[in-house]
Symmetry: C2
Subunit: 264 residues, 2 copies
DNA sequence: GTTAATTGTTGACTAAGAGTCACAAAATCA
DNA sequence: TGATTTTGTGACTCTTAGTCAACAATTAAC
């Protein structure tokens, strides 16, 4: 206890410092601008010390990514309290994610980094597993929702398998994630999708995503269909209640500095 | 003429050699395994000579990517000869792309590389523009198709704007592109999506994509709906006629080494 | 045919950054 | 206080992108 655990605490504190600083650097300067030398200088420790915590640069990036992902997952936890049809829960999830992305528009850039082969190939297995587990959680939650909808008579699977449906919805979201960066402030496009999004004047990609998901669900005949339920009202409701804090910040009534919330 | 253009021809020949070799290296060893030193050694020229052709490593990668993309675009050109409803054309496009991806399962890995911020940020403007132009072409073709469908009374836009629809379809495809790699031979997963695809036993992601697009189009009420048209027959037809050559190779009746087709 | 000018090619060199490790400093223990 | 363990360090190696002065080959001039 006491002494050895104080050391331990200090070590954990420093690990958080490393992660938080890396997070800031990654968002500010991107993956290319993130070097261990700069990081070490910034936190005022030697390079070797950083490598006492992480086996390689990619592990730091992946750990930051996992923490950011964890934070993002909490958004989805909030909607579980809602007492609405299953399909409305799916939509509420997209509303929450849209708001969260508006708040924290650079986060998806981080998340995309983890999908890059060259990074993935160097990350240690533990961290890959951790990441895997979180993504799996989303899949599991989705699968339950699909099964519940079938059980409650709101959805028939037909030639679809349950997995096809949630795989599709998640893939749709992924495809859009490339263009979910808020267009509030003018930013240099970071990839081809962002370029096109600018040039094609897609003012609110999040709206298009919500529409795409909704259309897909209509195509599945997952009830209540968009014409039979006031999803606009649902959106307003979740925005004003369970995501009220997000909305306050977006509307400028509150200011927030987004940092990695490390409650390890 | 003659002399100076012979020089020029030699220069162009070497450029092709650089691109073809880079293509092979990128597919074989990924972005991380691709170094200019290795490339130079392989083509038996000095490093400096390579840099006479391209300003930086990323420019080589992007040029390879653009050429691969160009090749891929030709797949979509084939379906233009089909005399079927607009929606069937959209579906035929996905069938063709599925086949092409089965043939050339590593290509999408290349294409994803170009979407990575760290590469995009170093590529010269010319190559970005070239890439942009090709993606724009897909968008334009799609927009025409949507407009035609509306004109012919097969689709009403409703609260959608034309751009929402084609943006959505393209995003859906993009989301799936992460898992379109053929699962024919056992391969090490290259990113989280591929991991999940393996662990969740999605046997034929291309099928799921086709289903997702079809479901989305049903949701849009873009006629003929999937229940009113024999899309299975269409798939068989295009597979057996305009993509017969792809199919032959897939079924092992023909062997083909996929290389970059540089007809510059 | 010889020489000068131009053009093309080279690989040693610089710079930068990842990762290592022998040693130094600090903490702990006896 | 001195011995032992733990922790932190930054100079070092290694790899790789990109440069550039010098060398080679080709072309032009005389």
């Amino acid at each position: 206890m006491s002494i050895s655990s104080r050391k331990e605490r200090e070590f954990k504190e420093r690990e958080k410092l490393i992660l938080r600083t890396s997070y800031d650097m990654l968002l500010a300067e991107g993956y290319m601008g993130f070097t261990i030398d700069k990081l070490a200088k910034k936190i005022d420790y030697a390079k070797g010390t950083v490598y006492k915590h992480f086996a390689c640069k990619e592990d730091i990036v992946m750990k930051v990514l996992n923490e950011a992902f964890k934070q993002r997952l909490k958004v989805l936890d909030r909607i579980k309290t809602l007492n609405v049809p299953e399909r409305a829960l799916v939509m509420a999830g997209t509303y929450g994610m849209s708001l969260y992305n508006k708040l924290n528009p650079n986060l998806h850039r981080l998340i995309q980094i983890g999908n890059v082969e060259s990074i993935w190939s160097k990350v240690s297995q533990d961290l890959k597993d951790e990441h895997n587990l979180m993504v799996t959680k989303i899949f599991d939650d989705f699968e339950l929702l699909v099964q519940l909808a079938v059980k409650n008579g709101n959805l028939e699977l037909g030639e679809h398998e349950s997995i096809d449906i949630y795989f599709s919805i998640i893939c749709i979201s992924m495809g859009f994630s490339g263009l979910l960066r808020s267009t509030r402030d003018e930013q240099i496009p970071h990839n081809i999708i962002e370029c096109l999004c600018n040039s094609r004047l897609v003012k609110d990609p999040a709206r298009v995503l919500r529409l795409a998901v909704s259309t897909f669900l209509d195509g599945l005949n997952w009830r209540p269909l968009s014409k039979d339920y006031d999803y606009k009202a649902l959106e307003k409701e979740v925005t004003d209640t369970i995501f009220a804090d997000f909305n306050d910040i977006i509307n400028g009534n509150k200011q927030v500095e987004f940092i990695l919330d490390l409650d390890i």
